[in-house]
Symmetry: C2
Subunit: 355 residues, 2 copies
């Protein structure tokens, strides 16, 4: 599979980490740290070491798994650990894990002594197609997602299908939602291909296409001043639903499940406020609801969800701004939408699973 | 006085904030925050408002004064305050104060929602000639200085002599040490001019020359991969002495007093390990000791000071690296020095005030 060239670094596919072995062999780094959570350390570290010929010349920095730990307290812990190891600016941090690990590890690396090199090895589908590419690092503050972070590019990204073998189906579906999004915002043909293929059988070729789409967008607009916002399609409402679910539901939605909901809502907004046709709206709802389980957005949560949307990073001058589809494969951004439309879009979603 | 052009932004001298008034009038910012500590809010905010025609269209974010508060807890407080104000990415943060304010405010701004615009208005001599220029932001972790931060440039820097009127003499001398350093590392003529002038009468022209020197160096090497390290002359030992004094002395050294000590020590190292002549070493010691008060580096602190130097950000691969003078006006960097030499340089300093 091809390597994708991004700004100043490569994204490697199924290389068995061979280019990383070369980087390590060169020996220009003073220390190598592997950052992982307890779960990935158990499931992925043996694979990582095996690919690197039983490499053991690193120190492991372990954290607790889960989005709720992507916070400043854990960052402080990692900064202090690096200090304890007397890590200098010439050390390398390898983030091995899902989006929590690559987001938080990237943030710690981009700020420790004003920046050390880091490499992302995403081990979930979600982080392979989304978090690991584009240079966004971040942590949550008061459960508001990625409120603090930087735009900092890694030295390299390694995508290895091998790591996906242990990812549970529900987590695979979580990543798959971002792939659907890539099709919807930028490539109708790819959307149709994803739909035609069995979603339980995701190929490296499909992952490659998703990364390619994301990479094209972020290379054009690295600091999200404009076009990059299309990657937020489904995320304005989706993020709010996700945050709400995290704080209220016994078994919270995954990121992808929330984004699936967000995409149906925002497809409705695209039909109401942009040029998405009624047919394409129906198509999107039918397909997404055939893949993702039913969920009820409670009416009593609408106010809280609105408040959460107010802190969305795309907003400007107090307006909630949406990225909306013009058609399947084409997306625009910075769209203002009436508060009543946002509510109606969620009511529309709630009807999705009513037969 | 001339404006200095830096990478992508201007450094304005004695403009009475006129260009800032223009920026505010344009009205493209969704919110304007002024970040200051209690002391600068009292002493400088009235001057700031008066220069801007009684401008009041901002929210004040106030913090406790002092280096000991340049920490992550205060950052978290400011991030949360911005969240409470529903500040979006289009807001502007104006850092009004000394180095603690511009360092910490810059760090908060460079990471809030992955980066908002900020402007530095340094109100002490030290921050005017040092902290406000060059894009370094940072906070202390466990009292280790600037362990966490970013390289992020402000939108503009405003240097106003007006603010210096209320700065106490000891604080002026603290900034003056950095000006002496600029002469020593890059411009012998400027060093001689500083010496010839009365140090109690520092002109905007001299400040301008210091900023010019610093700006030339940081523009050439913004990320401190090489040449920028010359700005750390006097700081390897100076920072260690400063940290130690902060934690132990009843009346701790100012930054400049510690750097003055560091410059004498490192001038000795420059004579021993580089090409600085015995005459120039004597000259530097004589001049600096005529300006700064006597201090005793306690022998029992040497081990602790060495440990502090180990965490210096210039270090690589476990080696403490120094920036050393080749002559007055010329500096080199990445110099390894024997541990015994470091001790001896401090003993040399201790003899400075023995007549």
């Amino acid at each position: 599979m091809n390597t994708i060239e991004s700004s100043g670094h490569n994204i490697y596919f199924d290389t068995k980490l061979a280019p990383l072995a070369e980087i390590i062999e060169k020996g220009t780094y003073s220390n190598i740290f592997v950052f992982a959570d307890r779960n990935t350390a158990e499931a992925c570290l043996p694979v990582f070491r095996e690919m690197l010929d039983d490499f053991s010349g690193f120190d492991l920095i372990e954290t607790d798994p889960g989005e709720e730990n992507k916070n400043i307290d854990f960052c402080i812990g990692i900064w202090k650990t690096l200090l304890d190891f007397e890590a200098d600016r010439k050390c390398l941090m390898i983030n091995l894990g899902g989006g929590v690990i690559t987001d938080m590890g990237g943030f710690v690396a981009s700020t420790y002594k004003r920046g050390i090199d880091f490499i992302n090895i995403p081990t979930t589908l979600l982080s392979q197609v989304d978090a690991s590419v584009g240079g966004k690092t971040g942590i949550d503050i008061d459960n508001v997602k990625n409120m603090v972070g930087t735009f900092t590019l890694p030295q390299a990204v390694f995508i290895e299908a091998e790591f996906l073998k242990t990812v549970p189906k529900r987590e695979m579906l979580s990543g798959f939602a971002e792939m659907i999004k890539h099709g919807l915002i930028a490539d109708e043909k790819y959307y149709q291909e994803l739909k035609a293929a069995n979603y339980q059988n995701i190929t490296t070729a499909a992952i490659h296409r998703s990364v390619e789409i994301k990479n094209e967008v972020v290379t054009e607009d690295p600091l999200e001043k404009g076009k990059r916002k299309i990657l937020n399609f489904g995320h304005t409402i989706g993020h709010a639903v996700e945050s709400y679910s995290l704080s209220k539901d016994k078994k919270p939605l995954t990121h992808g499940e929330a984004i699936a909901i967000g995409m149906i809502c925002e497809a409705w907004l695209s039909h109401k406020n942009s040029t998405l046709s009624a047919e394409e709206l129906a198509e999107i709802r039918a397909y997404i609801s055939s893949v993702y389980p039913a969920y009820k957005i409670k009416e009593k949560s609408f106010d809280k969800l609105s408040a959460l949307m107010q802190s969305d990073k795309k907003n400007e001058h107090g307006n909630i701004l949406f990225s909306l589809l013009e058609s399947i494969g084409k997306c625009t951004w910075n769209c203002r939408v009436a508060e009543s439309d946002i509510r109606e879009s969620m009511e529309y979603y709630n009807l999705t699973y009513v037969k």
